[in-house]
């Protein structure tokens, strides 16, 4: 086993991509993810790869499309406003069934918003964002180590399903330094494993990468083919972690860095006798519905905590299906939920006090009603 090294999240993610066999990066500067392209611009030429700083995020994602269609392991990274610009291209990638990895170190929005960490891009990542019936596979890492592990996995999963994969991080994951172990499984990627890629039609019929099907019957069939693929992904690729699932009466639900804050709250309150558990989705799509439905049978209630005004909470409610109440607590715009604020919210919920949103806003502690 390799020695742990201390690395900034963005740089560690970039190194993980290279170890996953990614040799092509197309991107455009935006805070707080600039260390990824910066690292790639230095490292990729050392390993025979190519880094291109594109003229825009629109161009970046279309360069990714070209390279993915040409059979390469390829990625881009950006942050919220830049990801919005990529949405057209992501829809095309999904429609043309091209594998690639997109990192979103999301920041506060809407609009230009801010540059501090946020989870307000959950809807965009998991519910479409671009046009048409498609799904992105979305991972929400909660540590630098997990971000690296998921980065390595993301390229394999993208290739397996011929689908774009998004790593939905936040400014904290990108900017903080943590010890990382790069497991000794660095690998090369091979274009020859992709017989559908446009590589020149030597000895075969031409390959075509496209997403246009003007005949409604053909497009209908294409969309149901994609749907079956998404079903298979839902069956095979769900990832989550549960904490104290066995004895918990109340559950926190959180992903990414917020899940770590919730974990501190959970450990502190458990010492004080509160039977609190935590469910941490790792795949945001496919969403871990089954485990939530399962624990809902015995749970007294759930508190979903996010750096948004409440996005994942909708999926939690759908999964719980009314079996138990689902409460919410959130901060936005780069404000990070404090452990004591979450703890207060947990105590209020357990005591049956569910203050309206404005009570929380007055205390400048974020909001959340049932």
């Amino acid at each position: 086993m390799a020695e742990p090294i201390l690395m900034k999240g963005n740089e560690a993610i970039a190194e993980a991509a290279i170890r996953a066999g990614c040799r092509f990066f197309f991107g455009y500067p935006i805070t707080p993810q600039n260390e990824i392209p910066e690292y790639m611009s230095k490292r990729l030429p050392e390993v025979g790869g190519v880094f291109v700083q594109a003229e825009s995020e629109v161009a970046s994602i279309n360069m990714v499309y070209g390279a993915a269609g040409a059979g390469a392991r390829v990625m881009t990274s950006s942050s919220s406003p830049g990801i919005s610009l990529m949405m057209e291209g992501i829809s095309y990638l999904a429609g043309a069934e091209l594998p690639c990895v997109i990192v979103n170190m999301s920041r506060g929005g809407p609009g230009l918003g801010g540059i501090q960490p946020s989870q307000a891009d959950y809807f965009q990542a998991t519910k479409g964002g671009g046009h048409g019936d498609y799904r992105l596979i979305v991972y929400g890492p909660s540590s630098v180590q997990e971000a690296c592990d998921l980065m390595m996995k993301a390229f394999d999963v993208a290739d397996k399903y011929r689908n774009p994969v998004m790593i939905l991080g936040d400014g904290m994951i990108g900017q903080m330094m943590e010890p990382v172990v790069f497991k000794d499984d660095a690998r090369e990627s091979s274009i020859s494993e992709k017989p559908w890629a446009t590589t020149g039609n030597e000895g075969r019929k031409p390959n075509v990468i496209t997403s246009i099907y003007l005949d409604p019957e053909v497009l209908d069939a294409h969309n149901w083919k994609l749907f079956r693929k998404y079903k298979a992904i839902e069956e095979n690729e769900v990832m989550y972690q549960t904490y104290h699932e066995d004895d918990a009466e109340w559950f926190l639900v959180a992903y990414g860095t917020v899940a770590r804050i919730c974990m501190s709250v959970m450990e502190k309150m458990r010492k004080e006798g509160v039977k609190l558990g935590l469910i941490r989705p790792i795949t945001l799509w496919p969403f871990p519905k089954a485990i939530l439905r399962q624990v809902a049978d015995k749970a007294k209630g759930f508190l979903c905590v996010e750096m948004s005004t409440g996005q994942m909470v909708e999926d939690v409610r759908l999964a719980v299906g009314g079996k138990a109440p689902v409460y919410f607590y959130g901060r936005t715009g780069g404000a990070v939920p404090l452990p004591r604020a979450i703890e207060k919210r947990v105590r209020d919920v357990i005591a049956g006090r569910d203050p309206v949103v404005t009570d929380y806003l007055e205390h400048n502690q974020g909001g959340g009603g049932k």
């Binding site: 092509f24 197309f26 190519v50 291109v52 594109a54 003229e55 825009s56 629109v58 161009a59 970046s60 279309n62 360069m63 990714v64 499309y65 070209g66 390279a67 993915a68 269609g69 040409a70 059979g71 390469a72 390829v74 057209e88 291209g89 095309y92 043309a96 274009i191 446009t198 590589t199 020149g200 039609n201 030597e202 000895g203 031409p206 390959n207 075509v208 990468i209 496209t210 997403s211 246009i212």
Partner: protein, 247 residues
């Protein structure tokens, strides 16, 4: 009897969807003839754009990617960077290249991407039914300039070859026309040069091809060819704007 005029190997035997009298058919054939003559069919990768040529991949017997509107030069960049030994070309119309894709073409040229761009300029949006293009002439009536394009309202026609020729990274920029056989022969020589440049690693080459749209111009094919000569060429003069020589 020896046949003297055959379908190029690089063209499929598909009946095209192009309107009668449209010069896309001629442009496709010229590109296919050049691919055949240079012996690069099995190593050529095309990029289709959005517009009438969106289905170009049905007509060329080579690998193809279909790009989002205006993004063909970015897609071609991705392909070429992965396969620098392959021949990559885009085939784009004026709405695609000069309007929504203006940034992508400018920056592909600025980077000196070693690709070949075939730019079809027929001064109108064909696929969507005859709307004003950035290349629409002053006074030209379209479905979105019903009183004729007026520069005080809709601005001036955009001269892409002149614009791209100012970019250091562009190696070869030429404008030609398909309005008669002599000019068709010249257009073919320009297209061949543009592909040869890429084979030799010279860098970014763009061939602008003045073309017709009889359907949306509301003209017969013969009138349309005359209109190119009489009205388009005075605004879009033919010739080489950059030849790569002396560089």
């Amino acid at each position: 009897m020896k046949p003297v005029y055959l379908r190029p190997k690089s063209l499929t035997e598909t009946v095209s969807h192009y309107c009668p009298g449209c010069t896309h058919g001629i442009s496709h054939r010229l590109v296919a003839e050049v691919i055949d003559e240079l012996g690069i069919q099995s190593k050529t990768i095309g990029v289709a754009s959005v517009g009438c040529s969106v289905f170009a991949y049905n007509y060329f017997e080579v690998d193809f990617q279909q790009a989002a509107h205006g993004r063909a030069p970015a897609v071609a960049t991705g392909i070429k960077r992965v396969h620098p030994d392959k021949i990559v070309f885009t085939y784009q119309g004026d709405g695609d290249l000069a309007s929504i894709g203006a940034a992508e073409i400018v920056h592909a040229a600025a980077r000196g991407e070693n690709i070949t761009v075939i730019f079809i300029n027929n001064a109108i949006y064909g696929m969507t039914g005859g709307q004003m293009a950035p290349t629409t002439l002053e006074g030209q009536v379209t479905t979105t300039s019903p009183s004729g394009r007026t520069h005080s309202v809709q601005g001036y026609p955009l001269k892409m070859s002149e614009l791209i020729a100012t970019i250091e990274g562009a190696y070869y920029v030429v404008r030609c026309s398909l309005h008669n056989p002599a000019h068709i022969a010249r257009a073919k020589r320009a297209i061949k040069q543009a592909f040869e440049n890429q084979i030799e690693g010279k860098g970014f080459s763009m061939v602008e091809v003045l073309s017709t749209c009889p359907t949306n111009w509301r003209m017969t094919p013969v009138e349309a060819l005359k209109w190119v000569e009489q009205h388009m060429i005075p605004v879009y003069p033919l010739g080489e704007f950059k030849t790569g020589e002396g560089e």
